[in-house]
Symmetry: C2
Subunit: 128 residues, 2 copies
Amino acid sequence: MKNYSRQREEIIKVIKNSYDHPTAEDIYMTVKAKDPAVSRSTVYRNLNLLVENKLINKIPMQIGADRFDYIRKPHNHAICIKCGKIFDFEYNFEYEEIKKIVREQTGIEISDKGIALDGICNSCKING
Amino acid sequence: MKNYSRQREEIIKVIKNSYDHPTAEDIYMTVKAKDPAVSRSTVYRNLNLLVENKLINKIPMQIGADRFDYIRKPHNHAICIKCGKIFDFEYNFEYEEIKKIVREQTGIEISDKGIALDGICNSCKING
DNA sequence: TTCCATGCAAATCGTTTGCATAAAC
DNA sequence: GTTTATGCAAACGATTTGCATGGAA
């Protein structure tokens, strides 16, 4: 992120104002509404840049495109594997203990941005 | 999974004998070694079928292709977001409590197959 | 003999890349 | 003026699909 760009500014603003874990395409569409000349590759390139710079998180999905989440305070996600809907939830995991255990057992240094769990949401349970 | 097929049998056997979270392509290659006529689509179709029937888990990845894991006893994963390596680890999460809280807050019924955390592995930390 | 699974190739989806142009510094 | 970011279109990797054929019940 060496040079400023109008497009990146707008992309950041859009994610910052999104609380629904949008896909790259969602973000592209919203940015495009304001700046019709913007290109998909600019959006993708900037999303990667913002992930690298830890301004946003990328949420890998079992279904459909990856989602993005502006980094505010750490929180957890519950993801429906049928429809891909993502819900935030609050729970106090024993972070320091978990980090230590994972480090000792695997050598992985886990990020402290929250934990993602998956399952089936209510409407998918009802509608089959 | 209505009808038996020789190919599916072999695919299941391959995953059952894999402890390294293979991709669909990995599985395809291993099956192909035994049955050179097998096709990629058969592998993909059967992997989806096996996921639906809860014989295997699909592990969504931030990087590269999805991974698959034969369902044995529940265990947790620590995933490196740089290189995609997956490690198993042991930790006693408060499953029943977490399930209840997630259900109450989000309506999602989480699966009890284990929890996946991501971070950076040792060699990626060292090699930049 | 009916239905389901396969193999093949083409299609699709999500994302990345090469290249020429435009904007930032 | 040099570097970095953009827009476009083409390329790419992973996965799905349509269709004709072969195998299971």
